[in-house]
């Protein structure tokens, strides 16, 4: 599991077992729309499932 700071939060992303990451190293994560959930920013209520 690799954690990055993004969108004002700590965000965890699955890493392959043999992934060697160092703190501070820039990485990218594939986060396609189909795995995303949207919620109302104010109420927190679910908006859609894409």
């Amino acid at each position: 599991m690799a954690t990055v700071q993004a969108g004002g939060a700590l965000v965890a992303v699955k890493a392959a077992k043999d992934f060697q990451g160092r703190i501070g190293q820039p990485i990218a994560a594939h986060v396609p729309a189909r795995i995303c959930h949207l919620f109302d920013a104010r109420t927190g209520v679910r908006l859609t499932r894409t």
């Binding site: 599991m1 700071q5 993004a6 965890a12 992303v13 699955k14 703190i23 795995i35 209520v45």
Partner: protein
Amino acid sequence: MADIQLKSLTKRWGAFVGLKPMDLHIGDGEFLVLLGPSGCGKTTTMRMIAGLEDASGGDILIGGKRVNDLEPKDRDIAMVFQSYGLYPTMTVYENIRFPLKVRGIPEAEHHDRVMRAARTVELTEFLDRKPAALSGGQRQRVALARAIVRKPKVFLMDEPLSNLDAKLRVSTRAQIKNLHHELRTTTIYVTHDQIEAMTLADRVVVMSRGEVQQVGTPLEIYDRPANTFVAGFIGSPAMNLMQGTLKGGVFEAEHVRIPGLAGPDGPVTLGFRAEDASIAATGEIAAPIYAMELLGDA
């Protein structure tokens, strides 16, 4: 066997609301789990159903009959709580038998029923011992046997595994699941452990601050959390949640750009599960590593 209906069930102590109006139908034979953080009103709900606490408003129906005004002993409910509540001076056998005595079940039936209950939870070799000479898991099984010995209409279990170590929790959990499969007794089970909830429940009620957040099967709650509270509470790790802006189907936040979404323009919270995402050469999130963690299969 019986179904349970809660109609606008409410609890207040003075100005403090312990449970906001709760409406729920628990099917005959269903295993329902109340899940939520400490203080969200799980025990309060259970105690009202059991009759140990008066409801401030609303109705409780068991098998179609309103029970609000019935004494606990007349509700035909058996309870298993975190503290086992065993009688220290009685043997395991007498502990299991006790509910039969209290309820005036004919003596002739006692032995068979005690033995059957003891066999169900694999306690037959400990029947002559006192509770002090048992492990935590064995004591919890005595409490279970005592609950099943009189075949109640409903089981209420409030964190029955929380005093057990991790390994015993897993095996006792399996035993409870198997017991329910066999007896098909309508069961309400309280926990703040989401793994317990997800593995045991037919349906889960997620609660927060005295309020129901979502009711659904474990899969529904995991796949379609109704709000950010549920999203942030269910799953290990819980869902990632980020604040950002949606514009023309593109979510943007610091280090993040995700196109192809459907939703209204404006500020939104976007969530995804760590296990659904993967590290790649390029991607929708690009940022320096903050921490690395070895975790199960990831």
